[in-house]
């Protein structure tokens, strides 16, 4: 985010595009309600009439898969309606003329069949956004990032903020709100094949020299070429390029598209290591399971979506033989000939920030007290300096010449369009009471009581009626990848022609249906758009029983997979011959 979460309250306009904060980030949603109370204008563009649409000054019911076309039309209005910030464009951007060469072709009228939105509404939205005082923010989520043209959509949004001059001042700019608590932190720490910690490029020889020296390895040990991306694992294993996968705290069988394909990939590895806190559908496939301490059993630092580092304490001691993640990595590294030793997390953190100029002021001291935080870039260790709430002050960007490079792209249709066999669009979304792969929230009493398997498939009354489906019925959903059961939640807040499933459910598992199709640059999959069909099930008693049977079977499989951990090493060692003899 270029702005801060608290600062959203003081914007003059918040434009939500493909982002449903009430389900994804309730505390951010509350900020938006407060912003509204303070006079902020709210614009929502979303195919569903999401919660924030209820308080919106303007709601634009866009069609699924229209993003770049819609945003180009919005940008077109900024210029054609005389709303853009000529001074900001002249002083702080490059490439306006080339940008316009593409944008000029996208009037709201010319793309109405793609966007599904009345042209007048787009004109109004552009005016509301561009003229907002003192600032405007565009907020987005996975509705942008998990589409075919995800990176191009982000380019287009950033260019809109620049052309409208709604960036580079307090409480303005871009608010992509991160889904998981520490996605921002993972990226900050260089858990990316192209970047060292602190967003320093692996291809830069000077950066390599710095890290090689700090880590005490010869420079040749650290390649100047980027590594592989996680979403390429499948074909890398197929091609014999990757043989070992060390999976740390993720459940790709649940969270990645095309679960069947993912299970096949993992089973074909020569060595699959899983370091986790739970027995999950992924952990159970591993050749090595390393039990780690849970949140609550260790301390550390997380980064919030708005770049705020905050420190968390341990509350209870580790269970069983669980060890801290960092201790396991350091121990393994030492056994493999690269000794690493740390006494505590603060030592690790201090090494990290000493190598990252933008993090250098984020000391434990600053983060320790209640309310303590440090928001990067934070360069001073003065305890009163909490860093930078708003980036790009005065329109100075982090490019070489300090100017923003405007980018425009033509719209492309989604990869898998509905047809006669699969006439509905499947879009995967979030829900408020469960989180990610659900191994955490599904083990919480209150949250498990609120919602359980097989989750919901949300659909418009017309689509339900056409199939003889009643609200609450178990239905069968199938695609070219697979078939699952879920429960119909019929509502006129859902647009006709599209069904929505959340990815928390292990039986009503949408990723059995989604496809592995990724953006060529970001390699993010197109989870928001694939084709499916939903069928009614006449015998609901059977269907309820079948869901229950599948759920019980899966839970038992997980218990069975974890059972060997109750047998102490050596306690049950006998060879097959002895075993046979014992049975005899």
């Amino acid at each position: 985010m270029s702005c801060s979460i608290p600062g959203m309250e003081d914007a003059g306009c918040i434009f939500l595009f493909g982002y449903n904060p009430a389900d994804s980030h309730p505390i951010v949603a509350r900020r938006i309600v407060r912003a509204k109370e303070k006079g902020c204008k709210i614009i929502v563009a979303d195919p569903r009439h999401i919660e924030t649409a209820r308080i919106a000054d303007l709601y634009l019911p866009i069609k699924n898969g229209c993003n770049v076309a819609f945003l180009n039309a919005f940008a077109n209005c900024l210029v054609n309606d005389g709303l853009y910030d000529k001074e900001f464009v002249a002083e702080h951007t490059n490439g306006f003329d080339e940008w316009w060469e593409t944008i000029k072709n996208y009037t709201p009228e010319s793309v109405q069949d793609i966007t599904g939105v009345e042209p007048a509404l787009i004109h109004q939205a552009a005016e509301m956004y561009a003229t907002a005082n003192p600032s405007a923010i565009i907020g987005w989520g996975m509705g942008v990032c998990q589409q075919k043209q995800n990176l191009k959509t982000v380019h287009t949004i950033a260019s809109i903020a620049c052309v409208a001059g709604q960036i580079g001042k307090p409480n303005s700019g871009l608010a992509p709100v991160r889904g998981q608590n520490n996605v921002q932190g993972s990226c900050d720490m260089g858990m990316l094949p192209n970047l060292y910690p602190g967003y320093q490029k692996v291809t830069d020889p000077a950066v390599r020299a710095k890290f090689a020296k700090a880590w005490g390895v010869p420079e040749e040990k650290l390649p100047l070429e980027e590594g592989y991306k996680l979403t390429d694992l499948g074909h890398l294993v197929d091609e014999g390029k990757v043989h070992c996968f060390y999976n740390y705290g993720e459940d790709p069988v649940q969270t990645e598209p095309d679960s069947a394909g993912m299970r096949k990939t993992l089973s074909e590895l020569d060595l699959f290591i899983c370091q986790d806190i739970f027995m999950t559908q992924t952990t159970m496939l591993a050749d090595v399971i390393l039990p780690a301490t849970s949140w609550g059993e260790h301390e550390g630092v997380f980064t919030a979506s708005d770049r705020s580092f905050q420190h968390f304490d341990a509350a209870v001691p580790p269970k069983g033989e669980c060890r801290h993640d960092w201790e396991i990595f350091a121990d393994l590294s030492t056994r493999m000939g690269y000794p690493m030793h740390y006494d505590n997390t603060e030592q690790i953190w201090n090494e990290c920030i000493s190598l990252c100029p933008n993090f250098v002021g984020a000391t434990y001291e600053k983060m320790a007290p209640e309310g303590g935080y440090a928001q990067w870039p934070v360069k001073s260790t003065d305890v009163n300096d909490h860093g930078t709430a708003d980036m790009f002050a005065g329109g100075k960007f982090t490019t070489k010449d300090g100017r923003a490079n405007l980018m425009a792209h033509d719209w492309e249709a989604p990869s898998e369009l509905p047809d006669d066999e699969y006439p509905l669009i499947l879009c995967t979304v979030r829900e408020v009471g469960h989180y990610s792969c659900r191994s955490m929230t599904g083990n919480c009493k209150t949250l498990a009581l609120l919602a359980d398997e097989p989750g919901f498939v949300r659909m418009n009354p017309a689509d339900a009626q056409a199939r003889g489906i009643k609200n609450g019925n178990i239905v069968s959903i199938h695609s070219r990848r697979g078939q699952v059961y879920s429960r119909a939640d019929v509502s006129d807040r859902i647009n006709k022609g599209t069904v929505y499933m959340t990815y928390q459910w292990w039986i009503g598992k949408c990723n059995e249906l989604t496809m592995h199709k990724v953006d060529p640059v970001s390699h993010t999959p197109e989870d928001k758009f694939s084709a499916c069909q939903v069928d009614a099930i006449a015998d609901q008693v059977w269907a309820e029983g079948e869901v229950e049977r599948q759920y019980t079977e899966l839970k038992q499989a997980l218990v069975d997979a974890a059972a060997p951990q109750d047998v102490e090493p050596g306690a049950a060692k006998f060879d097959d011959e002895t075993h046979v003899n014992q049975i005899v």
Binding site: V183, P291, G300, A304, A315, D331, P564
Partner: protein, 139 residues
């Protein structure tokens, strides 16, 4: 009752609260005045803590190292020493045969924290010698 300051492990809003601990079990939460949440919490922040206690409602915690000695063999509980020596030798054999890029690792965007991630990428880069470390930001 003990109180320990934490940051929420669920969404990216970064809410601060106390975990309330009694007899070694986490029994509740209490919002704090963090920079982003200012004394407020959502449903998950408020009620999403008892998985730590290994409730086994959905699936059990893993508490001991386990390995499969050969591909497809049953899981077997082993000591940490054995688990890590086993992993180190298997991984080294793959590196020796196919090179460091035959190994891929991940960060965790969830409960582990920045320090754990930092050490994982340092292990991947400085020990194995590849940049093939990634996280779920793409999905």
């Amino acid at each position: 009752m003990e109180k320990h300051k934490v940051i929420c492990p669920y969404c990216g809003a970064g809410c601060q609260f106390n975990l309330l601990v009694q007899n070694g079990q986490v029994v509740g939460t209490e919002p704090l005045n963090g920079i982003t949440n200012q004394g407020e919490l959502c449903l998950k922040g408020m009620s999403g803590y008892d998985f730590i206690n290994d409730t086994k409602i959905l699936t059990p915690r893993v508490l001991h190292p386990m390995i499969r000695r050969t591909k497809g063999a049953d899981l077997e509980r082993v000591s940490w020493d054995e688990a890590l020596d086993f992993t180190a030798s298997k991984m080294q054999a793959i590196i020796d045969e196919y090179g460091p890029n035959a190994v891929m690792t991940t960060g965790s965007s969830r409960g582990g924290g920045n320090e754990a991630n930092y050490v994982m990428q340092k292990f991947t880069r400085a020990c194995i010698g590849t940049h093939s470390v990634d996280n779920c930001a793409r999905t």
